[in-house]
């Protein structure tokens, strides 16, 4: 028979679950009704389980009854009568009460009946409880650690890291499940069950403490097998999509640089970098094989801290990771030769990585320092265009970030239209370099199309290379349609098929097509890939959160004295639904985490272990373990101390106590060897029993008993007592194996067991 405690526990668990769920979903009165429904469910479940009714019957009835309840609720809400009698608000509350009471009674009742009748149904009950627990905190999924606000806001305001809190909530849910399973167990009638469940609770606490929270993102990379880049590479409609919905252009000048940021681009895997740790959001080689809808992830992948106030003139922050410039007869791919030295292939180590870039004159560009903290690992570093130097820095928070590095960049300060007079390319370039960046498809259709694009220009501007490139961009902006559905994955000539087909594609298609046309009109160009983030999303702070849907590919052209600049395509037509606006509080949260190392905390906002509850628990457990160990050492030392004291006492005890302490020491020696006087056995009987092993004990017993029970005035000589004691020692040792002798010396508890 289970005790009352174990019968109450499932009821309490369900009541708490329904109360928490109701608190999120309905009015308070209905929550109370749900709690009452739980009580009714336990009564109902017990009745059903005890009845002769087969179990499929309640399961078959539960859905129709639930539907009936919902219909009844709708009727109560919509009926004029209830509204007139109770008032609209009360009618709504009443209908909610009916729904919550009935639903709780129905579902919990069926769960109870099922798990009482057949134990395996308890798994279903456990799954339902987990679902309730997980659903309440589900908003924090996909890295949105700033949600749910009701939990995170107060914690974050006090400086607590939300991640360990979510882990702790998971631990509590797991502990609740253990209680639920234990309460349903047949062993719940056992008295020791409480101790065993207590041990399991302690185990949950230890699991929480040692849980490797800093490895979660690595596990995620392992899960995706380096292919999760599909999400990001697929690169989604990115922030620019929003403009399709009629948003004002981020560039007030109406520059052609604004507009769509179709995502995704080719990244030939050249073997450089760590393939295993390839990030889920990086652009991959299968540039034209993106599937529709695969880029809808909005997961944060990195946070960038701007060390100075800077807004890009074209309205977008471009973070370049790699480039493609070598024409392979069909499209541009990654160059493995002597070109594109301004892109890093590896992360900085002890020494910074310096990249050769053209230093633009003041007024055109400026120096900007940023810090990038990677939430997910990437194969290569990326930085704000154009990067001068990557420098490794300490990871500000290994729980949240994979690594961090500083980036020194040279960024443009004027819009591109103010650089129309600039020439393209560098006079210092060799013929090979010119040929490399101007290699274009020999197909005459490209030439014809580029000439068509140039018709957009005034005749006097047709000789300006930059103007020619802009004309191409405008033509593509006007004639292209952005869509995530790829039709070119199996094409032999994806660029040609896109450009001379219906021109429906995404960033990869547009970038490659633009580069082919730029080169056709004589402008050195290449494809850059990485992330493009709308400058409007930065907000008032200095942190910029990069999400997976910001992955992007764009065309770049080379301007003399400036270097590579982005001349991106912004299709005017889009078939893609605009992405949701970013969560600014999440950006602030990650920004604060990335700044942790430099964070100045107020004294009253300075929780232990930097606000990491998990670390606090670790410290606590470490303290407890140290204390226990110390206590154990002290206890052992005390036991050994008493042992030594009792062994030495015959040598200095007074004549009155000598028979007693000598006899006691002899018993200690025997106890150390596992020879103990049994309960109820007299001293004489014990001495007789030990006569074969230790004959001297008989005489010692006689003296002791004579002294204790008979003549209190006898004073046996110390020499005789010590001789008997030594005889006992040698006799016992003679009958023991060497191992037993060693164990007897080490045994600290022998004296404790002597009766």
């Amino acid at each position: 028979m289970k005790s009352l405690l174990w019968r109450i526990i499932p009821l309490a668990i369900w009541i708490v679950a329904i109360a928490v769920l109701g608190d999120q979903l309905t009015v308070r009165t209905a929550t109370w009704a749900g709690v009452l429904g739980c009580g009714a469910a336990f009564w109902l479940g017990a009745r059903i389980a005890a009845s002769k009714v087969r179990l499929w019957v309640p399961w078959a009835l539960v859905l129709p009854l639930q539907a009936l309840l919902m219909v009844l609720t709708c009727v109560l809400r919509g009926a004029d009568l209830t509204a007139q009698v109770m008032g609209p608000a009360n009618a709504y509350v009443f209908s909610a009460v009916v729904l919550w009471f009935g639903s709780a009674a129905l579902w919990v009742g069926v769960f109870q009946a099922s798990s009482r009748r057949f134990a395996p149904f308890v798994a279903l009950e456990a799954a339902a409880i987990t679902l309730v627990g997980a659903a309440i905190f589900a908003q924090h999924r996909d890295g949105a650690l700033n949600r749910p606000f009701f939990l995170v806001d107060p914690l974050w305001a006090k400086g607590y890291d939300p991640l360990p809190i979510f882990l702790a909530i998971g631990g509590v849910v797991a502990a609740v499940l253990i209680l639920l399973l234990a309460s349903k167990s047949a062993a719940a009638s056992r008295r020791s069950m409480l101790i065993e469940v207590g041990l399991l609770m302690a185990l949950m606490l230890i699991i929480f403490t040692v849980f490797p929270s800093s490895q979660i993102n690595k596990l995620r990379d392992l899960q995706t097998g380096g292919q999760a880049g599909d999400k990001g590479a697929s690169a989604s409609p990115s922030p620019g999509d929003g403009q399709q919905g009629g948003r004002p252009s981020p560039n007030p000048s109406g520059s052609p640089m604004n507009g769509q940021r179709p995502g995704g681009s080719p990244t030939p895997a050249d073997g450089k970098g760590d393939k295993k740790s390839q990030d889920t959001t990086e652009l991959r080689d299968d540039d034209f094989s993106k599937k529709k809808g695969s880029s809808q992830s909005n997961e944060p992948v990195a946070v960038v801290l701007l060390r100075d106030d800077y807004t890009p003139p074209d309205g977008y922050y471009y973070f370049r990771q790699t480039v493609f410039s070598e024409y392979n007869g069909q499209r541009v791919v990654r160059d493995n030769g002597d070109f594109d030295k301004d892109v890093a292939d590896a992360y900085p180590g002890d020494k910074p990585i310096e990249l050769p870039i053209v230093h633009a004159r003041s007024g055109i560009a400026r120096h900007l320092e940023t810090t990038v903290a990677l939430i997910h690992s990437h194969t290569r570093p990326f930085g704000l265009v154009n990067v001068e130097r990557f420098t490794s820095v300490n990871n500000p928070d290994p729980t949240h970030f994979q690594r961090a590095y500083d980036v020194d960049s040279q960024v443009l300060t004027i819009p591109l239209q103010e650089m129309l007079s600039h020439k393209v390319g560098e006079p210092s370039w060799s013929k090979e370099t010119w040929a490399h960046y101007l290699a274009a498809p020999p197909d005459p259709r490209y030439k014809k199309l580029s000439e068509e694009c140039l018709q957009l220009l005034k005749p006097e501007l047709r000789g300006e290379p930059l103007a020619r490139a802009v004309a191409v961009k405008l033509w593509l902006d006007h004639n292209g349609t952005y869509d995530l559905t790829s039709k070119y994955e199996n094409s032999q000539d994806p660029v040609g098929d896109f450009l001379f087909g219906d021109r429906v594609g995404y960033c990869v298609s547009f970038a490659h097509a633009a580069v082919a046309l730029y080169r056709t009109v004589g402008v050195p160009a290449r494809v850059g890939t990485g992330y493009a983030v709308d400058a409007r999303f930065k907000g008032p702070g200095s942190a910029l959160l990069i999400r997976s849907n910001a992955a992007h590919a764009w065309p770049e052209i080379y301007l003399e004295g400036v270097g590579w600049v982005v001349l991106d395509i912004a299709p005017e037509k889009s078939l893609v639904k605009p992405a949701d606006p970013p969560d600014s509080s999440q950006q602030d949260l990650y920004g604060d985490l990335a700044r942790k190392k430099n964070k100045q905390k107020m004294p009253d906002q300075n929780p232990v272990s930097n606000g990491n509850v998990q670390q606090m628990m670790r410290n606590l457990l470490k303290g407890i373990a140290t204390g226990l160990l110390l206590g154990l050492v002290l206890v052992f030392a005390g036991f050994y101390g008493v042992k030594i004291w009792r062994r030495l006492q015959p040598t200095f005890a007074g004549p009155a106590l000598l028979p007693l302490v000598t006899y006691r020491s002899a018993l200690d020696v025997l106890a150390d060897h596992g020879r103990l006087r049994r309960f109820g056995q007299s001293r004489e009987q014990f001495a007789k029993e030990m006569a074969d092993v230790c004959p001297s004990l008989g005489r010692l017993t006689e003296i002791h008993l004579e002294r204790s029970l008979g003549r209190g005035d006898i004073r046996p000589p110390r020499e005789e007592m010590l001789a008997l004691y030594r005889a006992v020692q040698s006799e016992v040792a003679r009958h023991a194996t060497p191992t037993r002798r060693v164990l007897a010396i080490l045994n600290p508890l022998g004296w404790w067991l002597v009766k």
């Binding site: 134990a119 924090h140 882990l167 797991a174 062993a187 041990l199």
Partner: protein, 471 residues
């Protein structure tokens, strides 16, 4: 009222060989077929799979949710729950595997015990217990009795005292059994892991029918051999008079109110018995061979009669599939037990009656199950043919429950909605059919409710009053 004369010394009974001499308990030890061996091997291997359905479900859900939801979507709550579930599962798995070998080691030698006094459908303690070591936490041990050839079907209830678990069993069927096969489970306290093996204890086991409250049934004696009011002028051990104690169904006109006024005992007048030597009686138990036998109550009544010597001197007792007739109590109890596990073919009730008639028995007490079966027509024929006075006892467990089920037809929807256990019990219609047929054929039919300790002298009247369908 005529006083019954002291019974003349009965003729010595014909020597009937004891049944235990040549009847072996249980089934003959035939070598198991290859299929059976394969099945046993499969069961043994399957029992070693350490996860329960709950464990498998939790493993699958924890892996799936942890991988796709926890890691794939960075749901920290789900991730932690899944991680904890997996760690707990692994911990329980280790504990169960270790516990399995520890407990199994404790039963590697035969126990050499004997178990006595088991009764069918009654709680009995066998003294069998398992002690879990203190150093193995999170473990629980459970077992049930496996059904098979030569084994006793029983419902086992386990009780614990600290780390000691012992069994209290309710054998489902009387019989003579040769072994107990226990299906032992070492499982964890969360029900995630479990390892099973079968432990066979070779032990002779006699399970007798439970007496119930029939033991307290005073009128039973009157129905068989007169009443318990002795004649003050008769023998010291008591002569019988022609009255007996009242039982439901007796006409109130037959109640002897003067006797009631003197003794506060409700007595009824019964036909005067012949003043002659008491005839020898014999007894026969008709066994129910159906899927869920209903003859345990009748067997319980027979046991009381045999143990209380209510059949008088020189009696003989036999039962369907019970082996040769017995003339001493111990052998008769064996016959009674053996009839519960039909393994010996006997010549049947007709032959028994003919033989009893030849051997000079005066009456036969027949114990009949409440559910009709193929046996009923043959039995009625035999009753019609014999010159012996046949007195039929129909044993039931809980007539009130039967009455409640008077309309309990086993319709299709009832079979679909209700559990089979309930549907297999004899219904009031079954009982009425048996009572009606026996009443029309035999002189005296009594209904005995073993659970309530109630005797109904005129069951047909009772059943008709309750509205039971009569043929």
């Amino acid at each position: 009222m005529a006083l019954q004369q002291p019974a003349a010394p009965a003729a010595p009974p014909s020597p009937v060989p004891g049944p235990a001499a040549h009847v072996s308990a249980g089934s003959p030890a035939l070598p198991p077929s290859r299929r059976a061996r394969l099945r046993a091997f499969g069961r043994a291997v399957g029992g070693l799979f350490p996860l329960t359905p709950v464990g498998v479900a939790i493993l699958a859900v924890a892996l799936g949710a942890g991988w796709y939801q926890g890691i794939g979507r960075l749901d920290m709550v789900v991730l932690m729950v899944a991680f904890c579930a997996l760690v707990a599962l692994i911990l329980m798995l280790v504990a169960v595997i270790v516990g399995f070998f520890v407990v199994r080691r404790a039963f590697r030698r035969p126990l050499g015990r004997t178990v006595n006094g088991l009764e069918a459908e009654a709680l009995s303690s066998t003294g069998w217990a398992v002690q879990l070591p203190w150093w193995l936490p999170f473990l629980d041990v459970a077992w049930s009795w496996d059904e098979g050839e030569g084994t006793c079907p029983a419902a086992v209830t386990l009780h614990t005292e600290g780390r000691l678990t012992y069994e209290v069993v309710v054998p489902k069927r009387r019989g003579l059994y040769s072994r107990i096969i226990r299906k032992l489970q070492v499982r964890d306290i969360l029900g995630l892991c479990c390892m099973t093996w079968r432990f066979t204890e070779d032990i002779p086991l006699r399970v007798l029918p439970h007496r119930g409250k029939v033991e307290q049934l005073v009128p039973l004696m009157g129905f068989v051999s007169g009443d318990d009011i002795s004649d003050p002028y008769g023998d010291p051990w008591g002569d019988r008079v022609d009255m007996r104690q009242y039982s439901p169904g007796d006409s109130p006109r037959m109640i002897m109110w003067k006797v009631f006024a003197r003794s506060r005992k409700l007595m009824v007048r019964v036909p005067e018995r012949a003043v002659s030597a008491r005839p020898r009686g014999c007894g026969y138990l008709v066994a129910d061979t159906g899927k869920r036998p209903s003859d345990e109550a009748g067997a319980g009544v027979a046991r009381v009669m045999l143990e209380r010597h209510l059949l008088g001197d020189g009696w003989s007792f036999a039962a369907d599939s019970g082996g040769p007739p017995a003339t001493i109590v111990e052998d008769a109890l064996d016959v009674l037990a053996r009839s519960g596990t039909p393994s010996v073919q006997t010549s049947g009730f007709s032959d028994f009656l003919q033989k009893a008639e030849r051997e000079g028995y005066g009456y036969c007490v027949l114990f009949v199950p409440p559910r009709p079966g193929p046996w009923i027509d043959g039995m009625l024929d035999a009753i019609r043919r014999t010159n012996l006075r046949v007195h039929a006892f129909i044993g039931v467990d809980g007539l009130a429950a039967d009455i409640a089920r008077k309309n309990g037809r086993r319709t299709l929807w009832k079979r679909a909605v209700l559990q089979a256990d309930d549907l297999d019990a004899p219904t009031l219609a079954d009982l009425t059919q048996v009572v009606t047929k026996l009443t029309h054929c035999s002189g005296q039919v009594c209904l005995i409710d073993r659970a309530a300790g109630q005797l109904y002298a005129n069951p047909l009247a009772i059943l008709t009053r309750t509205g039971a369908p009569t043929s």
